[in-house]
Amino acid sequence: MKIDRRSFLAFGVGGAVGTAITPLPWKLMDDSSIWSQNWPWTPVPLDGAINYQPSVCTLCKGGCGINVRKIDDRPVKIEGLKANPINKGGICLLGLSGLQLLYGEDNRVKSPLKRVGKRGSGKFKKISWQQAITEMVEKLGAIRLKAQSHTLACISETELGTTASLIGRFMTAFGSKNYIRTPSFLDSLEAAILKTTGTSAAQVAFDFENSDYILSFGSGLLEGWGSPVRMFMANSALEDKKGTLAQAEPRLSNTAAKADKWLPVNPGTEADLAFSMCAVIIQKALYNTNFTAAATGLEGFKSFVTANYAPEKIAKSTGIKAEVITRIATSFAKAKNPVAVCGKGSGDTPGSLKESLAIVCLNALVGNINKKGGLWLTSEPDYIKWPEFINDDASTAGLQKNRIDSAQSGKYKDTRFLLNNFADAVLDDYEYPVNALMVYRANPMYTMPDSEKVKKAFEKIPFVMSFSSYMDETALYSDLILPDHVFLERYEDIPFASGYTKPYIGLARPVVDPLFDTMNTGDVIIQIAKRISNSIAGAFPWKDYETCLKETLGSMWAQLESQGFMTDQSYTPPSTVNFTFPDKIADAPAIEGDRGKYLLTLVPVDSIRINCGYIANPPFATKTVDDTVLFENDILVEINPATAKSLGLRDRKKAVLETPKGKASVRVFITDGIMPGVVGMPKGLGHFGYDSYIADKGVNVNALIGSLEDPETGLDAAWGIRAKLSPA
C-alpha cells in the first residue's frame, strides 16, 4: 500500500516534470493560440480582384449614383458615385447598407411562393415561375371573363419609369383604372400649383443649391426628405455661403438642430404661420413687384391674409411671437434667393392643400417661382413613347368605371391618386368590390395609416399578389408572391430624383447575377400579358423587359449604359408663370381625437437612420439608431420634461400610448427637444415582416394614426392624432 502510494506519487511527479521538459506542452500552448487566431467559425472573406461598377440606387426616390465595389463577381461595398450630379459621391446610410438587402437571405423571397396557410401566417409553398405565371393568368383571366376587369387594382410606389409604365399599361389593357401610387408631399404641392398656375402634371422642385434662405415648414430636409444626399449637400453649401435655414417644427429634429433659426410652431399651424408671413411681406411691401405685377389676385389675397393671418392674431395659435414672425418674414423676403418648402418629415404624407398653397404663395410673393434658388415647376420626363393599342370590349367596359379610390373624377377630379381612400373603398364597396390586388414596390400593409383597417381591407380582397423581393408585411398577407430582383440585380430606368431641379435619368444596372430564383417584374408583366388575351398581348410587343427598356430609351441607352445617368445641368424652367393668388383657402381638417380625452398630440418622427418606406431598415442602419429611439424591443416616444412631470412619467420607463386608433406599449424619452404637450413617435419601427434584425422592434406609428381627407384635394391631410400617455 505504502509502496504503491509512493511509487504513484513518484510516477506522477516524475511524469509531470518529464512532460514539462519535453516540447509537448509548449507546442500545445502555441498551437492552441494559433487555433484561437483562426477559429473556423470566424469567416475568412474570399480574396480576388477589386473592381467597381457604377449604378443607381433605388432604395428611395433620391436617385443617387452608386459605385459598387466587387471582389471578382461579389459585391462587397456600395459607395457614392462621384460623377453623379445628384449625390456627387455622397451616400446615405441606407444606400451604404444596400448589400444587406441583397444578401440577407432571411429577408429575401427566394422563389415564387404560393400561400398555403392562413393569410398572414407566413406559410407558403415554393412554386415554379411557370406555375406562378399560370396562376396569375388564371386568376386575372377569370376576372375578365366575369366582366370585372375594373376590380383589379394595383398599388405601386411610382408611376414613372419603364417597369411602372408597363404595369400601368397592363392595367389599362386589362381594363382597370385602378393604378394607385403611394402618396407624397408632391401630390399636394401639385394641387396647389394647379390651383395657382393652372399647370397640371408639373413636377415641383426646389433649387436649394442656389438658395441663400431656406424656410421650411416641418420638412425633414435632413431627415430623408426629397433626395436625401442632395439635401445634405445643399445644407453644407448653405453653411459655406453663410445662408440661413429656418425650420418651423414642434420638435428639434436634425433639420431644426442644423437650422439657424428654429421656430417651435404648434403642430398643425404651419400653414397659418406661412400665411402670416405672407401678411407681413405684403404689409411691409417686401414682395417682388415684378412677379406680383404679372400675377393676378394679389389684392384678394392681401385682404384675405391681412384679415385672417396678421402676426398678432396668429401668434397665440402658432406659439410663435408676432415679432419673430415679422422678423423671419422680413429676412426671408429680403434674402437674395429665398425659398419656402413644405412636406412634413421625409415627405411621404401629402398634407393639406392649405399648407401647400401657403408655401406656394410665400414663394410667389418673393417672386422666386422658376427663378434661381427658388421653387421650380419642371416637366415630367416624356421619353416613354409606346405605340397606341386597341382595347377589347372587356377592357373598354372596365375603363368606363370610376376609380375605386375616387380620384380623377367628381370632387377630386384633379387628384391623381388617393391611396388613403383605398381601405375604406374596399371595406365599404364604394361602387364595386376589389377582386384582385397587385402590389409593386410598396408595402401598404405597413406604410398606410390605420393598420387595423388596412388589414381588414386586405382580408376582404379575394386575391392579393405581391412583386416584393422581401418578405414584407404585404408579402406576408399575399396569396402569391412573384419576387422581383433587387436593385443590384436588374436594369431599371429612374427618370427623376425627388425635388431635384434638373432633368435626370438614372440607369440601375445588374451588378451581380440574381442570387435567387427571382424575375424582373417587367418580364413577369410581359409574360402574363401575352397569355391573358390577344388584345392585351397586342399592347406588349416586346420579347422581354430588357428589349423594351432598350427600345424605350432609344438613343439614350448608350450613354446611360456607359455613364449610369443622363442629365441636362443647363436646364432652366420657363421664366414666365401665370400665377393667380387665391383669395380664400379652406381650412385643413382638425386631427382626430377628442381634446378632452386625449390631452396630447402625437406626431410621427422621421429619421434618416430609420427607413420608413416600403423597405425595412437593414441591420447596419438599425445599429445606428439611438437608444433613445429604440431600446431592446421597445420604442421610445419623445416628450418634454413638462409633459412628463404632469403625467408622472419617468425617463426611459414604460408607458401606454393611446390614440383613437389604438393602444401601444412604449417607453418615454424625456427631452427638451420637443414641445410640451406633443408626443414624438419614431416612424419605421414595428415591422412584423422581415427577419429578426428588424421585426418586432418597437411599434408601427401607422397603427396609431389615421388619415384625414383634405376637403379640396381628398389627399391625406393628417399630420398627427390626439393621444394620451399614461404610466404602465
Binding site: Q37, W39, W41, T42, P43, V44, P45, L46, I50, R69, I71, P75, V76, K77, E79, G80, N87, G89, G90, L93, L96, S97, L99, Q100, Y103, G104, E105, D106, L222, V229, F232, N235, S236, E239, L252, N254, A257, K258, P264, L515, I608, R609, P619, F620, A621, K623, T624, D626, D627, F631, E632, N633, P641, D672, G673, I674, M675, P676, D691, Y693
Partner: protein, 259 residues
C-alpha cells in the same frame, strides 16, 4: 532619424456641417466588416468604430440646441507616441506608427485584457463580447481587405489603414513614392454626404486638413488631458467647443495646457 516622408494622418470634422445622419457609421461598418447583432440598442455593447454622439446645450425648450459629434479613434499621439492605449497594452498588440501617426491594432496579438479600453477616454475601443455571426447569406458582403475579428479581442478604427496600403501599392506600381491626398481617404470621409469630414496629412501644408486645423474655431476633444489627438473639430458655436473639453466654472473655453 526622422524620415522626411513622415506623416501624421488626421481628420478635421466640421460640426457645423454634420447633420448626424449616421452615414459615416455605416460607411465604416460596411468597409471594415464590423459585425452586428439582432439587438444593438445596448450601446455599450455595440461595436461602432465611428460613433456619432448627440448632446445638447443643456437648456430647456425652446432654447435647446443639439450638436452631433462623430467620434472615430483619435489616433492620439500623446507625447512622442505615448498614446493612452498604446502605452498600456501589455502584449504590444496596439502600436503608434511614427511614420503615419496611425494607432494600429493587431487582432491576432490581442488577448483581450481590455486595459486599453479603460485607458481611452474617448471610448473609441470596442470589445468583441460575442463571436461575430452574420445572418444567413450576409457573410458574402465581407471584404477581404479587412480581416473579421474573433471573439474576445479589442478592435477600433484604423483610419482605414488597408486603404493606405492599397494606395501605396498603386503609387509604387506607378513609380511614385508618395500617395496623393485623394488616393487615401477613409471610408467615413468618402461617405459623408454633408462633406463634413476632411482627411489627410496634418503636417503637409498642401493638404486640406493642414489649413482646416488652423481654423479659429478648431478644437480637439480632451486636449487638456495631454492625449494629443489627431482628430480636429470645427464649430462656430462656443458651447460646442466648450463641450469638447472639461473646464472649471470660471475657466474660459479654449484655455490650453501649459505643455
Amino acid at each position: 532619424m526622422k524620415d522626411f516622408h513622415e506623416k501624421k494622418y488626421g481628420m478635421v470634422i466640421d460640426l457645423d456641417k454634420c447633420t448626424g445622419c449616421g452615414s459615416c457609421m455605416v460607411a465604416c461598418m460596411s468597409e471594415n466588416n464590423v459585425p452586428f447583432k439582432e439587438d444593438e440598442t445596448k450601446k455599450r455593447l455595440s461595436i461602432t468604430w465611428m460613433k456619432v454622439y448627440k448632446f445638447t446645450n443643456g437648456k430647456s425648450f425652446p432654447e435647446t440646441e443639439v450638436c452631433y459629434l462623430p467620434r472615430p479613434c483619435m489616433h492620439c499621439e500623446g507625447h512622442g507616441g505615448h498614446s493612452p492605449c498604446v502605452s498600456v497594452c501589455p502584449a504590444t498588440a496596439t502600436d503608434y506608427s511614427t511614420e503615419t501617426g496611425i494607432v494600429s491594432q493587431i487582432y491576432t496579438r490581442c488577448f483581450g485584457c481590455r486595459y486599453c479600453m479603460g485607458a481611452c477616454p474617448y471610448h473609441a475601443r470596442y470589445f468583441n463580447w460575442w463571436d461575430p455571426v452574420w445572418p444567413k447569406g450576409m457573410e458574402k458582403q465581407l471584404s477581404p481587405n479587412v480581416s473579421p475579428r474573433m471573439r474576445g479581442i479589442v478592435e477600433k478604427c484604423s483610419f482605414c489603414y488597408h486603404r493606405l496600403q492599397l494606395a501605396k501599392e498603386k503609387a509604387y506600381s506607378e513609380g511614385r513614392r508618395e500617395v496623393r491626398e485623394n488616393e487615401y481617404q477613409t471610408s467615413c470621409t468618402q461617405g459623408c454626404p454633408a462633406g463634413a469630414i476632411t482627411f489627410g496629412d496634418l503636417i503637409n501644408p498642401k493638404h486640406e486638413v493642414y489649413k482646416l486645423k488652423k481654423d479659429q474655431n478648431a478644437f480637439r476633444l480632451l486636449e487638456r488631458l495631454g492625449t494629443n489627438p489627431k482628430v480636429y473639430y470645427i464649430s462656430s458655436r462656443e458651447w460646442v467647443r466648450r463641450a469638447g473639453d472639461n473646464y472649471l466654472a470660471h475657466e474660459k473655453t479654449g484655455k490650453k495646457q501649459n505643455h
